[in-house]
Amino acid sequence: MTGIPTVLDERFRAAAAASGDLDVAYDVLDDTPVGPLLVGVSERGLCRVGFDPEPEAELERLARQFGPRVLRTPKALDGVRRELDEYFAGCRHAFDLELDLRATPEFHRRVLEELNRVEYGHTTTYGALAAQVGAPRAARAVGTAMNRNPLPIVLPCHRVVGANGSLTGYGGGLDRKEWLLRLEGALL
């Protein structure tokens, strides 16, 4: 992509990751069961999981939200890659990653924190989540918070379904939601 020798390119990217000068280190995991995933970490923790295989818009958004020093540095994502691999293999039921939600508005953050309590293999509803954050009439706003979840899979918005049990919607598409729920045994 850069037209320079791979060794030199990789050496710079590793040095950049080690320098502590990056706002966001990211990588694209090409071969997950739900397709390519863009994952990003800031100095505070995981700040992005994106389904969009074309990362252009994602990079612009990361630069706007966290600062322009956004660089692909696979090494910095080793821990995230490992936990996701374990999750997809069915042997990890909870993530131990630090999360950076500073770019998420306060109400959405509260909803996401509540969402994070929904356990592997279980589901909840938009209305129930709304009630749990003390805003029982805000089911629609909870839906918006799910749709804008910056960390899908890790913050399990796929575990939120309609009051009648239907899958309703998913930012990454209903196929992926269904796949994730089947993986967890929440759908048979």
């Binding site: 850069t2 030199l8 050496r11 706002d23 990079l59 322009p68 020093r69 660089l71 692909r72």
Partner: protein, 155 residues
């Protein structure tokens, strides 16, 4: 936070790394170019968060590369260099001194003047840096100098 017009560093690096490496190989030789390449982009990364706009990034990173070459030469021949130009840490690098002098010039003329007289780059490289060719770089530098002279006379 990101300002309008400043691309994510990844895009900046992809766009300019090839030109920077070619420049360093010409100026410092193949053996040294690899180390200087890394140093150049680490310096650029450090400063990138303080950029106020995204114009002339190629010229900007080439001035950083030129500085890295000069600094490496100083490290290798410290006494000879020190006699001519003390390497004081907080001294303004030439680009910033010239940047102040040339503040009122149109962007292309300014970049050409700074790269030519601040960093002694050849017109071919400057042409690439301002997204043009050797002749345009020559003309921009000379137009810039004429304009500066005129401004000085009017003062």
């Amino acid at each position: 936070m990101s300002c309008a017009g400043i691309p994510p560093f990844e895009r900046f690096y992809e766009s300019h790394s090839g030109v920077v490496l070619a420049f360093l190989r010409r100026r410092a030789g193949r053996d040294r170019a690899d180390d200087l390449f890394q140093e150049t982009f680490l310096r650029a990364l450090r400063a990138y968060g303080r950029l106020e706009h995204g114009e002339h990034l190629r010229a900007w990173v080439l001035t950083i590369a030129a500085n890295a070459v000069v600094d490496a030469a100083r490290r290798e021949r410290p006494t000879a260099e020190l006699a001519v130009e003390p390497a004081v840490e907080d001294e303004l690098p030439p680009v910033e001194e010239l940047a102040q002098l040339t503040d009122g010039l149109p962007p292309k003329e300014r970049a050409a003047v700074v790269l030519r007289y601040g960093y002694d780059l050849d017109y071919d490289t400057i042409g690439a840096a301002i997204g043009s060719n050797e002749q345009a770089a020559r003309q921009a530098a000379s137009a810039g100098v004429r304009r500066l002279r005129k401004e000085k006379e009017q003062r």
